[in-house]
Symmetry: C2
Subunit: 141 residues, 2 copies
């Protein structure tokens, strides 16, 4: 495991295979390709980093390894976040919403979450009061 990369005091959440299975079986895979929606949030800044899908296997892999895995809707395959970029997400906390079809993952993000090079996938395109003068905005905040 790559725990040595984490600063002291930050503990990665990992479950036994048995416990991970219990959690995985409690979810409602109602979204595309039998998935739940997963929201990754920086455990410290509380910034929302990205949104992706997880199938049952991705949930189990995430919980047993402590490293976040997703299901890619585009590539139709399981995907270890950071497998090509090195920008892994270590799992700190795992929350399930009231109807079981969405997860909130507090993560320790290595580097940037977004493949476009920003910390969050939500950093580049936004609409708010500050930018209304110039209409709809795209660009760095």
């Amino acid at each position: 495991m790559r725990d040595s990369m984490l600063p002291n005091g930050i503990r990665v959440l990992r479950l036994s295979a048995e416990d991970a299975l219990k959690v995985a079986e409690s979810l409602w895979y109602r979204h595309t390709d039998d998935t739940v929606i997963a929201v990754a949030q920086d455990w410290q800044s509380k910034d929302v980093l990205m949104v992706a899908n997880m199938n049952r296997e991705a949930v189990i892999k995430t919980l047993t390894t402590g490293m976040v895995h997703y299901w890619s809707l585009s590539r139709k395959k399981l995907w270890l976040k950071g497998e090509t970029s090195g920008h892994y997400q270590y799992l700190i906390d795992f929350r399930i919403d009231c109807d079981g079809d969405a997860l909130l993952l507090r993560v320790y993000q290595v580097g940037n979450a977004c493949h476009l090079g920003t910390r969050s996938c939500f950093d580049a395109r936004y609409v708010n009061k500050v930018r209304l003068d110039t209409g709809i905005s795209e660009g760095e905040p």
Copy 2:
């Protein structure tokens, strides 16, 4: 409008119909029922309150009224958040992710976001180190 409910200094984001349409047309409605995923985050505490779906109409309604609307996957209808509970979500900031299939909404939440009576839909079920002693946990944090 219900702006008078908001504390001084908090401005609700609203767009013209024309600008809202531009934003709506820039999204990728790849999820169930031709929707995008919307994450509602408390504008102040940065807590993630809920995750739901929005179709094109929900996006336009949200942006033109400044009050968050969703598409209910279960009821197959447009839904003004708070229409029965009074727990409206006022739009403060609207962000779009890098592939356009997910939104991050910073909101001013009136009352509780969750119909089960908790502030967030993610408050009741979670797994973390603190609770691992007793296995998988459900209950109040």
